[in-house]
Symmetry: D2
Subunit: 151 residues, 4 copies
């Protein structure tokens, strides 16, 4: 585990969403199951897109599908904690967007988990990659960080 | 479907918990999957018990296990809605507790779904039913409704 | 809990699907969470419909939505058990279908849990109830039991 | 997306577990949600440990907690597919084990998704890292590949 970057602070993320844990997020070890962290990732990203009117799941001609995800777990989270999910953009490619996410438990200052989530924009009908739409690109500018940390 | 009771109002429930939906609560029909409603039931009940210090998942000598659950679905809920979960007690037996739950979408006044959730108190070691502990009984009084509606 | 019907035998169900448990089906009590039983219900019903070519999630003009579900829990199931989900039809209405399901753990002869699951056929565009399509009706005949047990 | 390694063949994995998809594995895009792939990862790893008697969730003095997970998604999987989860060991450290997993849909020869899953052995009471137990180490030898592919 040497060489692991230390967990980040909340200030590393320009946008946050609060996500309460649920009873059955916990697994047999009585902490939130690792797969559930990716439900939090998915929720903070898609809420950001839907709340800002750049994604309509029923109608958008361009949708974003997940190409890659990754998470490092630093300290456990357990129901009934509140998760504060921080979101930023680390890289904006022609068709792809690399989101980085930090999950903070209750009022803790350092992240319990951090990861990334790569979306690729595709044509809904053909599933072929297409350029990131202009409106989405403009929105994502607000989540860009000047010195993206690779994680 | 005739003979179904109509959905209730929020005033039928003395206690509420807000539960935000998650991206993957939705299934292929783009509404919250029926099984997920029971995650909401479980969460409102267990948050009530934990927040009021009558359940400690690691240490309580008496725990509550689920004996029966039921839900009627009146209108669909879909991500990114907020669910407001109402909770009341309809019956308190020697070992068992019948909770009734109403789920209200966003700022709607009538329930999108209603159901019940029966807990049986058991000894953690033997899994045998035991009387509802005094402290829990006292707490549940605050959720009793004078005219419990059977649902 | 008096007055509960006893758990049934496998012979009460004409159709079975084997569903392996998953690590995170277990919750903090190290048994399968109650909400997950409804994932098993949903899976045995929809696999039956899809495998028999009466449901196409992308294209069917008539789809079935869940109006009501119910489950009684008799004995716990825990990962890594295999669940054998038994399925029968208890009632076939104009628009609605009442499935009954028994979940049997590993090679046990009596059900660990039993419940029902009511589907209502609706027009995909309007979401209004429509009669159960002929092809589906014919298929469901194979799951009818002569003396449906109300549960 | 340039520079992505191509998906692997089944022969890259010495051990397999079949995991059927469930109805609600699918999300609004009617394919298996990305978080659910990690449920498959968790299940193939823990079934391997439990089936081989090196993990007892209730009693083992040493348990394994997840330190890091990663997945690349090559092609979609959707209910009602069968997933064949391939498992190998890429690295065995003092306290940590790096599993690599490939998920193959139905009878396809190349992986639909690939990832890794890092377990750290910890003392159950203190949660501090401890050496990988001898019995587990011996077992994992059977999953070692001579030329582990970094993914």
């Amino acid at each position: 585990m040497s060489g692991r970057p230390p967990p980040e602070q909340r200030s590393a993320y320009p946008h946050f969403l609060e996500i309460p844990t649920r009873w059955n997020d916990n697994d047999s070890y009585r902490h939130v199951n690792n797969a559930v962290y990716y439900e939090y990732f998915d929720t903070v990203v898609n809420r950001f897109l839907i709340d800002n009117d750049v994604l309509d799941v029923e109608r958008s001609a361009v949708i974003a599908v997940v190409a890659e995800t990754h998470c490092r777990f630093f300290s456990q989270i357990a129901f009934p904690s509140q998760v504060h999910a921080g979101l930023r953009i680390a890289h904006l490619g022609t068709s792809s967007i690399r989101y980085e996410i930090g999950l903070f438990r209750d009022d803790e200052r350092t992240a319990s988990a951090q990861g990334h989530f790569v979306h690729v924009c595709v044509d809904r009908g053909t599933s072929r990659p297409v350029p990131v739409p202009r409106k989405l690109k403009d929105l994502l500018g607000s989540l860009m960080v000047s010195q993206p940390t690779e994680c």
